[in-house]
């Protein structure tokens, strides 16, 4: 009762759902946002368990975990455990399972994204930072291309131009990427990779839940979630959060496994998924069950058209999708207009 009154006092512009759970989450979320980002990593994990503990509603609703049925409360913690286990070998396994094709998929995501200089990207479920690194490389090569074009026009930059190019406080907005993941292990691996690549600026690592992002409204130009949204317990909630943190005109991009369109390819793909991938998981990472969960969760995820419908329901416009590798992976894109 007190919690409900507390929530009604808090002015939430975009609180569409009327569930008790979400109202509780809203009150706790504003509390979280008032803390700095570093502290969020402690409260994030506590927050979720508190939420679930306060009401019994989440435990009554069930959802899928692979082919099992579990309660919503359990799914989040089970997914957390899966990724905690696989974090160290995540990149190696990706290469092994997809025969390196996942790199092409992620490159395609960046090409479709085509970020303009000065864009800010939020990469959710971006644990080990694949998309973030590609984004920074893309921006840097674009800037180099622009500089080369300016040079080729025969204008040698004056000393004033060069000194203007030095990063100044309060200048044009620099591109930045924020990597957000619910799992600290994955972020740790990502940070190690960033250090080994020597990337220091324009990148930050935040622990956060896709269903309750620790950011204010209208913050980001681009939101991407690559191979992460099928692990989210409530997809519609994640989509609404994405809509909230995007600026007007911002773009939502989702790369995810989807339904294969060709029936022959589908049979091959199923055989490969269920026979080969868990075996690879056992051999390389020593974890059969996590990779069994992976292939099962792919089957449980809605197909291209359904996900497009979910995006439109959440309020995205100009929703379209591209099938990559014959439908094995689909890239969905929508705008907040």
């Amino acid at each position: 009762m007190a919690a409900n009154i507390h929530c009604s006092i808090i002015n939430r512009k975009r609180n569409f759902l009327s569930h008790c759970v979400i109202n509780m989450a809203a009150s706790v979320r504003t509390f979280v946002r008032s803390l700095s980002r570093k502290n969020a990593c402690f409260t994030a994990v506590l927050r979720r368990s508190e939420c679930r503990g306060f009401t019994g509603a989440a435990e009554d609703r069930s959802t899928h975990f692979g082919f099992e049925t579990v309660s919503e409360a359990e799914k989040a913690s089970k997914v957390y455990k899966v990724f905690e286990n696989v974090a160290q070998k995540y990149d190696v396994m990706n290469d092994a399972m997809s025969l390196g094709i996942h790199r092409l998929w992620k490159d395609a995501l960046l090409h479709v994204m085509h970020p303009q200089p000065g864009a800010r990207l939020l990469d959710v479920a971006g644990g080990t930072g694949d998309i973030a690194f590609r984004f920074l490389d893309y921006i840097r090569s674009q800037q180099e291309k622009q500089q080369r074009r300016a040079m080729s026009l025969g204008q040698t930059p004056s000393w004033r131009d060069i000194s203007d190019g030095y990063p100044a406080g309060g200048g044009a907005p620099e591109s930045a990427v924020v990597v957000c993941d619910i799992n600290k292990e994955m972020l740790k691996v990502g940070r190690q990779r960033a250090d080994s690549r020597g990337v220091t600026t324009g990148l930050s690592w935040v622990v956060g839940d896709a269903e309750e992002l620790p950011f204010n409204d209208d913050q980001f130009d681009l939101y991407s979630i690559a191979f992460g949204i099928r692990n989210v317990t409530r997809i519609d909630q994640a989509l609404k959060e994405a809509l909230r943190v995007l600026k007007p005109g911002g773009r939502f991009l989702c790369l995810e496994f989807s339904k294969v369109t060709n029936p022959v390819l589908e049979r091959l793909y199923d055989a490969y998924s269920f026979q080969v991938i868990p075996v690879l998981g056992e051999v390389i990472a020593g974890d059969w069950k996590s990779y069994q969960y992976l292939v099962e969760s792919i089957r449980k995820f809605p197909d291209q058209e359904e996900f497009k419908g979910l995006m439109e329901d959440a309020g995205f416009f100009c929703v379209q999708y591209f099938n990559l590798t014959g439908g094995v992976v689909a890239l969905h894109s929508g705008f907040k207009l």
């Binding site: 309020g315 100009c318 207009l337």
Partner: protein, 357 residues
Amino acid sequence: MYVNFRYQAESPKSDVARRLSVLLDMATLLRGLRAAGALRGLGGVLAAPTATNPQFCRLRRGFYCAALRLQDESKSDKASSSSSSSSSTSYHEHYQAHSAQQDTAGQHHSDPAAEGTSSSADGQSEYQDEEYESEEQLQARILTAALEFVPLHGWSMEAIAAGAESLGLSSASTGMFINGSGELVLHFIADCNTKLTEILAEQHNQVQLGQAEKKKTSEFLRDAVETRLRMYIPYIETWPQAMSILLLPHNIPDSLKHLSNLVDDIWYYAGDRSTDMNWYTKRAVLTGIYNTTELVMVQDSSPDFQDTWAFLDNRIQDVVNMATTAKQVQSTGEAVVQGLMGAAVTLKNLAGLNQRR
């Protein structure tokens, strides 16, 4: 304004198009929509359900027809003179047909190649303003805003990004334009064509009302081409880039369509009603004149492009001379043939072959 079904005039035969009553209906209601502007909000409400579904288009058409008949009548009352009311309504319809074609053309170019653009609106009260304006309208607005930045960035995605930012949208919204620079150039050209049609229609009205003198054909053509080319002056530095973009294979069909509409409009308002081979030759000639003058303009550095207008004058004079020469040749040829026939008959008489026994 949300005409998303494609009227492809495959060849510039707008006399056939004119005869399609379906097109006329559509055109009248579109013209009324644009001119009045009063139904914009109404149109927005009706567009909210789905933007691209042709069934809805037909529904909307049926709805609007009644409302716009009234507007159309009021407009034609204003503009028609006593003697030629039928021709003036046909002018209106033609004008509307062309503005409709240009509207659809303009919007097709700002239409992304998206399967199923959506505008579902469950409980999105915050975005209601954007919804009532359809996605195509928003894209048209972004492109218009981007035109300001063209002198700085050229005809490119950067200009579109700057335009979007000037409207308060994130630069990521450029993702809606798959063929960014092409769409920008085509949008600009469609805009210019619409403006030219308005100017020509206005002049035509003036002549009909008796407030202005009717110009000679050659003078009319010259003025029309000059007016149209003057619209490029603010962008003349980057116009070569735009021309090269228009020549890219995926842009050629659209740019040819715009060009043919432009030339057809100019000839129509010049008074051409031919229905034979002349229709094609006239348009071909004007296309040649227009393209060559455009090329001269791009590299012209004289004050106020005087060299270009002099070139235009000369070309039109050439065409006029050629027309008179052709007539002379024809009449000379006829005279020569008659002379020969006469000589042949005389010879036969002399040789006694014409006698009848």
